[in-house]
């Protein structure tokens, strides 16, 4: 994984979120040296690690916006993508639920908007039908929009799988590598300066998520463009106590799609997000007000929800930009920016890729390649490009017979480390040595779902730290939760003299 300074690449992607990983995967089809840099200790740690995990049908974005175009173009790509990259994905469909008669026209309007966007497979269902599909729904339900093409996925695994597929096809992923500035030759970008040295390339792609504004400003592009984080807080519920299988949206408001109640592929129900616009791009703190807001919002759909059964919360920031609408003449100022700016050569600029960014990622990757072609890049397809990223065994989801075979092959799979989610030592070790390796506790957690259950890592934490230290050949003091500064251990119990106690 270590790259020496001053290496030469053809393409550099800044940012290892789902969009950056998907762009890397698309570029890995073509000849050329490809590098993805990520400032954090793992890929997918920003917006891609904390969202609602929904593959949207496409009725929500404003007709004529790039958001709508990308969403509707990307949605049908997901089945093939899930098959090739081996991540969990299900087309469960989703519902926008009207509570009370006064909300019904709003939902019907959404149906019309979906039709305008070109979304297939939508229909209105009546209150009785909605009640029969979700028995815990608010009894005041008056009807719902049912979008059959809506889906849910595991966004961490999508990001990891896309990046790994790029690595399998020759790409390099550098973690803990922070973009600092561009290297120029006239008005042409020829590389990037990072905390780990300079890297040269013919093309640099800005996929820096919440910091994409800072990156494009360094390129002198769109000085007026700014990202305002929209903060989404969430609760996760214990699957043993709360079972909501459906994806349930309330009617949208000016602040976004509203607070959802939705099942996940891990069968835990999640509630969220609220969507307060904040200034601090690092503020992922949970607030008391946010918790109250979530509960009120969720109870509008499922009145019986009880916070006692929540097992965790998380916060995600959406990179809301102020890009003008893709279609000229429409008054809309939060659209995606996806462009090859005319003022700079060798630079692809992305910004404001908020929801439905996860859904749109494959279409965005395709559009980036097309824009580069339009700008004169002559791509040569690799003859041996492998579209497949092999999946890895997940013990918890196997049958008794499959487990028996796996344990006979490798006894490390028989050793359960996370007892709530049934994650084994074999799975942990496999992730530590994967094509995009997991070197922190959270990286393993995101890939295996370990430590996310009822005991919230109480049992597995000490064991995972020991396994990481053993596999990486380092001291347990070097093991972190999510990168430097988040170490677990300070000293041995008996070495009081090294204690920094005042």
């Amino acid at each position: 994984m270590e790259a020496s300074v001053q290496e030469k690449y053809d393409y550099i992607v800044i940012g290892g979120g789902v969009v950056g990983a998907m762009i890397a995967r698309w570029l890995s089809r073509y000849e050329g040296r490809l590098l993805l840099i990520e400032k954090e200790a793992d890929i997918g740690m920003g917006c891609s690690s904390a969202n609602t995990a929904i593959v949207h049908a496409g009725y929500d974005p404003l007709p004529g916006s790039l958001k709508a175009l990308m969403n509707v173009r990307a949605n049908p790509m997901w089945d093939q993508l899930a098959g090739e990259l081996n991540f969990p994905f299900e087309r469960r469909g989703d519902y926008v639920v009207a509570i009370g008669e006064e909300e019904l026209p709003l939902v019907e309007k959404l149906l019309q908007q979906g039709i305008q966007n070109g979304v297939p497979g939508m229909m209105m269902i009546d209150a009785g039908e909605m009640r029969s599909r979700e028995r815990d729904i608010n009894p005041d339900v008056s009807g719902a929009l049912w979008a059959t093409t809506g889906g849910i996925c595991d966004p961490f695994q999508v990001t990891v799988a896309a990046a790994e597929n790029a690595v399998i096809n020759g790409a390099t992923v550098l973690l803990n590598t922070k973009f600092e500035d561009f290297i120029w030759e006239g008005n042409r970008v020829i590389g990037v300066k990072t905390n780990r040295g300079d890297f040269y390339a013919r093309w640099v792609i800005n996929s820096a998520g919440i910091y994409s504004d800072a990156v494009m400003h360094k390129a002198g592009v769109r000085p007026e463009f700014i990202i305002k984080p929209r903060k989404g807080e969430y609760f996760i519920f214990d699957r043993a106590e709360v079972q909501i299988h459906n994806v349930l949206f309330p009617v949208p408001s000016s602040r976004g799609k509203g607070i959802l109640v939705t099942g996940t592929l891990h069968e835990n129900t999640i509630v969220g997000p609220n969507g307060n616009v904040i200034d601090d791009k690092e503020d992922t703190s949970m607030t008391k007000e946010g918790m109250d807001e979530l509960l009120d919002g969720a109870k509008k759909l499922i009145p019986s929800l009880n916070l006692r059964h929540s097992i965790a919360n998380f916060v995600g920031l959406r990179p809301m930009g102020n890009g003008p609408c893709y279609t000229p003449g429409i008054n809309y100022n939060n659209d995606y920016v996806i462009e090859v700016p005319s003022s700079v050569q060798g630079f692809v600029n992305l910004g404001g890729i908020e929801s439905p960014g996860l859904t749109s990622a494959p279409a965005i990757a395709e559009m980036v390649v097309d824009l580069m072609k339009d700008a004169g890049e002559e791509f040569v397809a690799k003859k041996d490009w492998d579209p497949i990223r092999p999946g890895r065994p997940r013990y918890a989801h196997m049958t008794h017979q499959e487990r028996k075979l796996l344990c006979d092959m490798d006894p490390r799979y028989a050793r359960v480390i996370c007892r709530c989610e049934n994650v084994t030592e074999g799975e942990i070790v496999a992730e530590i040595h994967a094509p995009v390796p997991a070197h922190t506790y959270d990286a393993i957690k995101r890939r295996t779902w370990l430590g996310t259950g009822r005991c919230q890592a109480g049992f597995d934490m000490t064991r995972v730290v020991a396994i990481l230290a053993r596999e990486l050949g380092v001291s347990p003091f070097e093991i972190t939760k999510r990168g430097q500064g988040s170490e677990y251990l300070y000293r041995t119990t008996k070495d009081v003299e090294v204690a920094n106690v005042n």
């Binding site: 041995t492 119990t493 008996k494 009081v496």
Partner: protein
Amino acid sequence: MEERNYICTACPMGCKLIVRMEGDEVVKILGNRCRKGETFGRQEAIAPQRMLASTVRVPNGFHPLLPVYTKGSIPKRKILEVLEKIRDVEVMAPIKAEDVIIANVIGTGVDVIASRDMPAKN
């Protein structure tokens, strides 16, 4: 006459004791529900005693630390000194529960003993 209040730690009941003192002499103990409480109250008023549990290093042990405890209570004011002593000790596995790890620790007349068997690392 002076009255002192203690919570008895002789068992989990946690009786609230009132110890009446005449100078350095205990004259009456109230609030205890058993004789252990009386003994505790008297001791607590004059020279408090505690049991102590900690760990010592076992470099070749199945675990790196062996839990140990004082076989009997020691003066409370000596605890930090005993802890210092325990911290300096290193033992080798295998160990059996109740093996003496430090005999008559700092002259208290009380042994520090092993709390469990500790096999050697395999």
